[in-house]
């Protein structure tokens, strides 16, 4: 099983190469199937991703090709995995979250409305800030969609899925519409039933220690990650707000500095310049924390949910198997419909064993992936924090040197 990281270290706020950035493959680079998102276009209410595939597999007509896909088509693919019995025994890579530019758009709109109340420089600066933010969100959503595809492509079983190949190759619109109200309602009820069932299933003690342990562990882990993810978001938001304030301070100082040409005004200009620079660094700190910490936690929130789903499916299969056993016993006792009962029992048995086999490996791989991803991101986080703090330090030291030298 290949190792994967969440974010491959690229700076989303700078131009980076458009290679398969989301796949952190240590050992084998699989040239047989490489998928990436080579381009993306943001339109008014949707994003169009250009999915680019390179493959030596005979399944495809060409060795290299691209198609354009929208978010709904990714969801369709994900759902097709979830709904398929075939893949019940695997952790289905979590679906990418919907591209959400609402907050950013709202801010841009507010800026437009407030244009009259600020100076031209301030307005231009804030506009640039918001555009950078928009771009950052955009890059993030591209990365999330890419990670999904890469995980599928790296999975020995899922990569062979026919729907996946269609998704990659079929250069027409897949005519996958978003679910309509009725379907969404159906989904809702399905989920309710599923979670109720999940509770029931979870209550059944597992014969296998490994799985029993995993069940407990995953439940708790999932909750904790959920908590940490939410709190990291809040923390980073405050950080961003503080950086915005420094921006305002810098521009007001600049205005003060341009009022006159006294010593004090020159002083203000220098300090304004300093704050401009430190503000940029602070914003980067917040952005990097977002990438390396918040996104990491979010991803493992989703992935631990997918692992829980696997356990649920297995649990469900176990219950079905045990019920089938009971039914068979009853049938034999009554000597009625024995053959049918036997077939059912056999089917259940096979299903359960198949799931169990692959599930065990999947869960072990999940652990390995998780540890590797955390290591990578935590190391990168620490390195970036250090880099930025040192950068800030240098700026402050040199500015203080200049200011003290003057006075």
């Amino acid at each position: 099983m290949m190792q994967e990281g969440l974010d491959d270290g690229p700076d989303f706020l700078s131009e980076e190469d458009r290679g398969p950035r989301a796949v952190n493959v240590d050992l084998q680079t699989d040239a047989t199937l490489q998928v990436d998102i080579s381009d993306a276009l943001s339109e008014r209410d949707k994003v169009k991703f250009t999915v680019h595939t390179k493959s030596t597999l005979p399944n495809f007509k060409q060795n290299e090709f691209s198609v354009v896909r929208q978010h709904e088509e990714f969801i369709w693919l994900h759902d097709s995995f979830v709904e398929s019995e075939e893949y019940a025994g695997y952790i289905i890579p979590p679906a990418p979250p919907r591209p959400d530019f609402d907050a950013s758009r709202e801010k841009l709109q507010k800026l437009g409305e407030g244009e009259g109340s600020m100076t031209k420089e301030e307005f231009t600066k804030m506009k640039q800030e918001l555009e950078a933010e928009y771009l950052a969100i955009f890059k993030k959503t591209v990365a999330m969609h890419e990670v999904f595809l890469c995980r599928v492509a790296a999975h020995p079983v899922l990569r062979k899925d026919l729907n996946f190949h269609v998704f990659l190759e079929y250069n027409q619109d897949l005519s996958v519409r978003g679910k309509n109200k009725k379907e969404k309602l159906e989904d809702f009820f399905k989920n309710v039933v599923k979670s109720a069932d999940g509770v029931l299933v979870a209550g059944v003690k597992d014969v296998d220690d490994f799985f029993e342990h995993e069940k407990t562990f995953l439940l708790e882990y999932h909750n904790r990650v959920k908590d940490s993810s939410a709190k990291s978001d809040r923390m980073i938001r405050s950080h961003k707000s503080a950086a915005d304030d420094i921006n305002r301070i810098a521009s007001t100082l600049y205005t003060l500095g341009t009022q006159d040409s006294t010593d004090l005004c020159k002083f203000f200009l220098k300090v304004s310049e300093l704050f401009e620079k430190t503000r940029k660094i602070e914003a980067r700190v917040a952005a990097d924390e977002d990438l390396k910490l918040a996104d990491l936690l979010k991803y493992y929130l989703r992935e631990s949910q997918a692992a829980k789903d696997l356990l649920y499916r297995r649990g469900r299969a176990l219950v079905d198997y045990e019920n089938a056993n009971k039914a068979l016993d009853k049938a034999r006792a009554k000597n009625k419909d024995v053959l049918q009962a036997e077939t059912t029992q056999q089917v259940c048995c096979q299903k359960f064993e198949k799931i169990s086999e692959s599930a065990k490996q999947e869960l072990i791989d999940f652990k390995t992936r998780r540890v590797a991803a955390f290591r990578k991101n935590l190391v990168e986080l620490a390195e970036l924090e250090l880099k930025h703090a040192k950068g800030n330090l240098q700026l402050l030291q040199s500015c203080l040197g200049v200011l003290k030298g003057d006075t």
Binding site: Y221, R234, T252, L256, V371, F374, L378, L386, C399, L403
Partner: protein, 519 residues
């Protein structure tokens, strides 16, 4: 010795002699005979030898605001309209005071120590002609080894005295000084809030044109939770800044009330301020600091220094308000960041405890610790943001308002002059009418009237010139002080930022190996 002969009388109020006798400070009494280097001289000045300046000796209260001193050989010109550019020559951290007389040349230096106590007096250059300025500069350079006087003030040790309804907070006011006008070199007294208010009340009327006496604690009157540590700290810091600003002004430092406040062990309870609680106090303070927003009177000026300066002040006030709002917002967001960080830290610790992989688990708990340390750093930074920057800005917004107040007062004086002039005109017309109507019996009265109003007009003219001069000098002094203040505080703030970043680096450097150790 006396100070510069051309110097104007010190800013003592009229009944000052009696007051001086009352005060225990023998220093004052002995000064009268003292010819030698006494800091007192700077302030008492032309008591013994005074070359009558061109302005009238009857100084009244307006002229007593004169905070600057000239060299003896300068013929004093009460011309408040002199060039301001010379000021720039003297914008330095240590401000020096030239004091010369016929007997001895000593240079008095009053240096403000580091950041806090800004109590330097200012070079008497605002009314000097250019040539004199150069000479002063040279002399200053020569006398590098002149005496230096210091005055540091700190307000510390808030202590709760008493219980229940009558409980109050008492603060220790410590002074450390080499100024000879004080009894000791270091001394401290305990004062309570109403004492400060009392001081303000006493000096506010006497020094109407001084910027810096303002009691700026609009936000610290009553409303806030007066028992919280933060409130006490805010108040302590504000009281300290208030005193430092007061002693920074040469006229105020001269005021015996100020000295009494600093030195005297037991102050009579400021009875008036008892009545000034809450709304009453606010009204009194607002009267001073919320100056008229629109100056509707237009003065016919020979140069538009006042007009353009007023505009400058108004602009600056606006900008400082905006800046203050931004810094305030920063303080709040940092506080928010603090609480969010601490919450996050706990959450990560929990996650670490669940994690099965032992190295990762350890790393996560280390991360939790790092975040905890970050929270402390953010907390301290927010503290610096507030106390070094935000409070400075808040003070100066109000001080600029006080500057506008001075302008307003000058307007009023001018208005009085205008009115007197028009009355005089009327009286002259009345006389003319009488002459024409040939009513000799009323003529004498008319002539008397005219004489009366003529002298009034000339008096008011002199007043107006004096006020103009004073306000101008005060504004220039204020601007220098403001520049110094801002520079000092901002440098201090940047140093606090530097400190924070240092600590940040240490935190993450400690964490990195832990992260790398995950396997």
């Amino acid at each position: 010795m006396s100070g510069g002969c051309g110097r104007n009388p010190p800013p003592f109020p009229d009944d000052e002699d009696q007051e001086r006798a009352e005060l225990d400070t023998q220093v004052l009494d002995s000064d009268e005979d003292d010819e030698d280097d006494e800091g007192e001289d700077i302030f008492t000045g032309a008591r013994s030898k005074a070359i009558t300046p061109t302005s009238a000796p009857d100084e009244g209260d307006i002229f007593s605001e004169e905070g600057s001193y000239v060299r003896s050989d300068v013929h004093h010109t009460t011309n408040g309209l002199h060039s301001d550019e010379e000021l720039d020559l003297f914008t330095e951290a240590t401000v020096e005071l030239t004091l010369t007389n016929t007997t001895s040349q000593g240079r008095r230096e009053i240096i403000g120590p580091t950041v806090s106590a800004c109590n330097t007096t200012h070079v008497p250059n605002s009314i000097l002609k250019p040539s004199i300025v150069t000479k002063t500069m040279e002399e200053l350079k020569e006398e590098e080894s002149g005496d230096q006087f210091e005055l540091n003030i700190a307000v510390t040790n808030p202590e709760k005295i008493g219980d229940g309804m009558n409980a109050y907070m008492s603060y220790k006011v410590s002074t450390q000084t080499t100024l000879p006008m004080f009894l000791n070199k270091t001394f401290s007294v305990r004062r309570r809030f109403s004492d400060f208010l009392g001081l303000y009340e006493k000096i506010s009327a006497k020094h109407s044109l001084v910027v810096g006496k303002e009691f700026l604690m609009l936000t610290l009157v009553g409303k806030e939770d007066s028992s919280s540590a933060e409130f006490v700290e805010k108040r302590r810091a504000a009281l300290e800044r208030y005193l430092q600003r007061v002693v920074a002004h040469p006229s105020l430092l001269q005021d015996p009330d100020v000295r009494e406040f600093l030195e005297r062990d037991e102050l009579p309870r400021a009875v008036n301020t008892q009545a000034l609680s809450g709304p009453g106090l606010l009204k009194m303070i607002n009267r001073v600091s919320d100056a008229v927003n629109k100056m509707t009177i237009k003065i016919n000026e020979s140069d538009n220094w006042f007009e353009s300066k007023l505009q400058e002040v108004e602009n600056e006030e606006q900008l400082l308000r905006r800046l203050h709002a931004a810094v305030d917002s920063l303080v709040n967001h940092r506080k928010e960041l603090c609480s969010n960080t601490v919450v996050f830290s706990k959450s990560v610790a929990m996650l670490g405890s669940v994690e099965e992989n032992s190295a990762l688990s350890r790393a996560l708990s280390q991360l939790a610790e790092v975040e905890d340390k970050m929270e402390q750093l953010h907390q301290q930074q927010a503290f610096s943001d507030f106390f070094i920057l935000a409070e400075l800005l808040a003070d100066y917004v109000r001080l600029l308002g006080a500057v506008r107040c001075c302008f307003e007062q000058r307007m009023k004086v001018w208005q009085r002059l205008q009115e007197a002039q028009s009355t005089l005109q009327k009286k002259r017309e009345a006389e003319a009418k009488l002459l024409w109507a040939n009513k000799p019996e009323k003529l004498q009265q008319a002539k008397d009237d005219i004489n009366e109003w003529e002298s009034k007009v000339s008096q008011y003219e002199r007043d107006f010139e004096r006020v103009t001069c004073t306000v101008r000098k005060e504004v220039l002094r204020f601007e220098k002080e403001k520049a110094r203040d801002f520079k000092q505080h901002i440098v201090k703030y940047l140093e606090s930022l530097l400190h924070t970043q240092h600590r940040l680096v240490k935190c993450w450097e400690a964490f990195l190996p832990e992260a790398k150790a995950i396997a």
